[in-house]
């Protein structure tokens, strides 16, 4: 199992609070609560399968592509990496709202069946990571013909 450490900044929550109560120069008319923090459980994932293989897609907008690490072992897929964090608060800038995920992430999911790690294929486009995994030939269901005797 391969897990990347998640960065935790205890002061970030306080900064968000201060910014929200301080000068709110831009207001949101939507119903999204400014205090609903993104759960640091890693990216949202969808999983598809058939008898030959599995496709996993992960929402990873703004991914730092070089940091991406996809590992497959048996029935377990691990996706780790970090986001492009280009919003930095310094003397010239001020963050008014922060909802998007930042820093490192890692997520491990259970697959419906064992896959062949050697033939795994991963692509990234428009912020979506697609991992295609194939099932080892000997694991694929075999139809057994029932013969009349």
């Amino acid at each position: 199992m391969f897990q990347l450490p998640r960065s935790f900044d205890p002061f970030r929550e306080l900064d968000v609070l201060a910014n929200e109560f301080g000068q709110m120069l831009v207001n949101s008319q939507s119903q999204a609560s400014p205090f609903r923090r993104h759960q640091s459980t890693g990216p949202a994932m969808n999983v598809w399968k058939d008898d030959d293989g599995i496709v996993v897609k992960a929402d990873l907008p703004g991914l730092n592509a070089e940091s991406l690490d996809v590992a497959v072992e048996g029935q377990v897929l691990t996706v780790g990496g970090s986001y492009e964090d280009d919003l930095v608060e310094d003397e010239n800038s001020k963050i008014h709202r922060r909802e998007r995920a930042t820093g490192k992430f890692a997520r491990t999911i259970q697959l419906p069946y064992d896959v062949d790690a050697g033939t795994a294929n991963a692509t990234y486009a428009n912020g979506v990571l697609t991992v295609k995994l194939s099932r080892p030939e000997e694991h694929k269901p075999k139809k057994i013909t029932v013969q009349a005797v």
Binding site: V26, M45, W48, D59, P61, N92, I95, R100, I109
Partner: protein
């Protein structure tokens, strides 16, 4: 898994026919008086996205294209395709002609430069 559970995209759709509209996560940062709005719209590119400013309401909207894998069975779903939309009230003077928006890697960036003439409205006094 189409129940209304917490997902990373803040939306709460029940079934496909309801055409749920989700609100993308947004960061807003001010740099030297300019505003930069950054929204997560994974799966969409610039052809799927619309940004408009009417009076002082900035709207970002669009569609995440269908993500289904043909022929395969969906066994686990945490994100979905569909419409997204979110509005913001801009409470400052913006140079409307200088607004720029771009999409890269599923991230929409809207740059709203400050109006250079803001607060400097010179009014000429004429003789009556």
């Amino acid at each position: 898994m189409t129940n209304c559970s917490t997902s990373n995209n803040n939306h709460c759709g029940t079934d496909e026919s309801q055409q749920s509209v989700f609100q993308p996560r947004v960061d807003i940062v001010e740099v030297d008086g300019d505003l930069l709005l950054v929204a997560d719209i994974p799966g969409a590119d610039e052809s799927h996205t619309e940004v408009s400013l009417e009076k002082n309401i900035l709207t970002i909207k669009g569609t995440i294209p269908a993500i289904d894998e043909d022929g395969l069975t969906l066994v686990h779903r945490e994100f979905r395709a569909g419409k997204f939309e979110r509005e913001f009230t801009i409470t400052r003077e913006i140079d409307r002609n200088g607004i720029e928006a771009s999409v890269k890697d599923g991230v929409l960036r809207v740059h709203l430069p400050k109006d250079p003439d803001a607060g400097q409205k010179k009014i000429t006094v004429t003789t009556a």
